[in-house]
């Protein structure tokens, strides 16, 4: 026993090294798991505030573009409003008054506190948290398209897994043909992502719109993801090789909208019960 302790003591540097590295590796694995590490992330108040200092400076240089985007969104919303208001229903027709259908999605506006695009797993910190009703797994969109999904929440902040994250897969649909696929980022270029699992017989063309499918109940149906920028079909492949130019420029993210789906739990639970029956 004494020999063992002597041996450990003589090689203490190496064993400390081993211990620390194993501990770090454990933390990396733990953090990569979905919704790991509740406390040590930028939804921590101090870290979020510090990150906000540099975001504040960055935002100052983007004011011009932020204003432009907001003005465009305003104009678009006003157009939609005009289209709706003259076509009000006749008095005697049956109007859908189902409150669950009307309030299917609740929108919460939020400001970006911290953002990155250069890594393989990118995260975004927003300034809304539990107090504003944000929960994990809510969708995050912007005026131009899909942004990501809420990962962890603290009282006043939340961390969002960006669409620019090699681990994230989002269900998508080719708007023109109606075929379903999966959007996944390849980690190389923050402007494009891959659209997978579109079968061979479908012939997508450059410029086709890709939107969310609404299959997983996180994203509302029909939110813009991007347009197809490159089509390749290799002889031996089962699926098309598609690149999608993302509608949202992730380097210029400043204001986003968190989408709360009020019926999500219901859809999840009914799907789960079906899965359980199948397994039996």
């Amino acid at each position: 026993m004494a020999r063992l302790f002597l041996f450990l003591y003589a090689n203490r540097a190496f064993f400390t090294f081993l211990l620390l590295e194993v501990f770090c590796a454990w933390m990396i694995v733990e953090n990569n798991r979905y919704q790991g590490a509740k406390f040590f992330n930028s939804s921590n108040r101090f870290i979020a505030e510090t990150n906000n200092v540099s975001q504040g400076v960055r935002e100052y240089f983007q004011l011009h573009e932020i204003n432009k985007a907001l003005a465009e969104e305003n104009a678009m919303l006003r157009n939609q409003l005009q289209k709706i208001s003259p076509s009000l229903q006749p008095v005697d027709s049956i109007v859908t008054n189902d409150s669950t259908e009307v309030n299917r999605f609740v929108y919460i506006s939020a400001k970006v506190m911290n953002n990155s695009v250069g890594r393989f797993t990118n995260f975004i910190t927003l300034n809304k948290g539990i107090d504003e009703g944000v929960e994990p797994d809510m969708a995050v969109i912007s005026s131009s398209g899909v942004v990501g999904k809420v990962k962890t929440v603290s009282n006043h902040y939340c961390v969002v897994t960006s669409l620019l994250n090699v681990d994230v897969m989002t269900s998508a649909v080719l708007k023109r043909t109606g075929h379903y696929g999966t959007i996944q980022w390849d980690g190389l270029n923050p402007y494009t992502a891959n659209l997978k699992y579109i079968p061979r017989h479908v012939k997508p063309v450059v410029g086709d719109t890709v939107v969310t499918s609404g299959y997983n109940a996180v994203f509302p149906q029909g939110i813009m993801i991007g347009v197809i920028s490159e089509v390749k079909l290799r002889d031996e492949e089962l699926f098309n090789d598609l690149k999608v130019k993302l509608a949202q420029d992730f380097r210029k993210l400043s204001y986003v909208t968190i989408v709360k789906s009020t019926l999500r739990h219901e859809q999840d639970s009914i799907e789960q019960s079906v899965n359980q029956i199948i397994r039996k």
Partner: protein, 170 residues
């Protein structure tokens, strides 16, 4: 608690906040990153106990991780570099050996020696960092390009910092 220790603690926070407030936003062509905070670890005195070195590496890496949303990643790379640092210092001892309390900076033995000392360590740090981040070798060449480009960027920033703020302490 000597004057030197207090200076070390102050410079710890300077390197840390410079990294997370400024350099976090500096990325060239989506490939070259600048992790100047490693310089703090490289410039710890030559005779520091390896246990303390690894402890400092862990603390520094972990704090940077908090801001980078990547718990354990930088800490892993830093501890690794801190473990091999003293072996590397021992194998490139300049003529006449190291003085007491010497800092392995550019003033010690010139820019050539310092580059030979710092660049491989920075490169190892970046290789470990980027490959662990990528989670394997599936994008080997792109990840390697990232590591090489970032090594040059960080080394350049480190040399400029050495010219701007020379360490006069002995």
């Amino acid at each position: 608690m000597s004057r030197v220790n207090i200076l070390q603690i102050v410079s710890f926070f300077i390197y840390l906040f410079y990294q997370v407030l400024v350099l976090q936003n500096v990325v060239l062509f989506h490939t070259a990153f600048c992790f100047l905070y490693v310089a703090y670890l490289l410039l710890l005195p030559v005779e520091t106990n390896p246990l303390i070195l690894m402890g400092m590496g862990f603390v520094m890496g972990f704090t940077v991780d908090l801001f980078y949303e990547s718990i354990g990643l930088h800490a892993f790379a830093c501890v690794f570099v801190m473990y091999i640092r003293n072996y590397w210092l021992g194998s490139i001892t300049p003529q006449g050996g190291y003085d007491n309390n010497a800092l392995p900076s550019m003033q010690l033995a010139g820019i050539q020696w310092f580059s030979v000392y710092a660049m491989p360590l920075i490169f190892i740090h970046h290789v470990v960092l980027f490959f662990v981040e990528a989670g394997g070798f599936s994008m080997f060449w792109f990840t390697l390009l990232k590591a090489v480009a970032s090594t040059f960027f960080t080394t350049l920033a480190l040399l400029i910092a050495q010219f701007l703020f020379p360490n006069r302490r002995r």
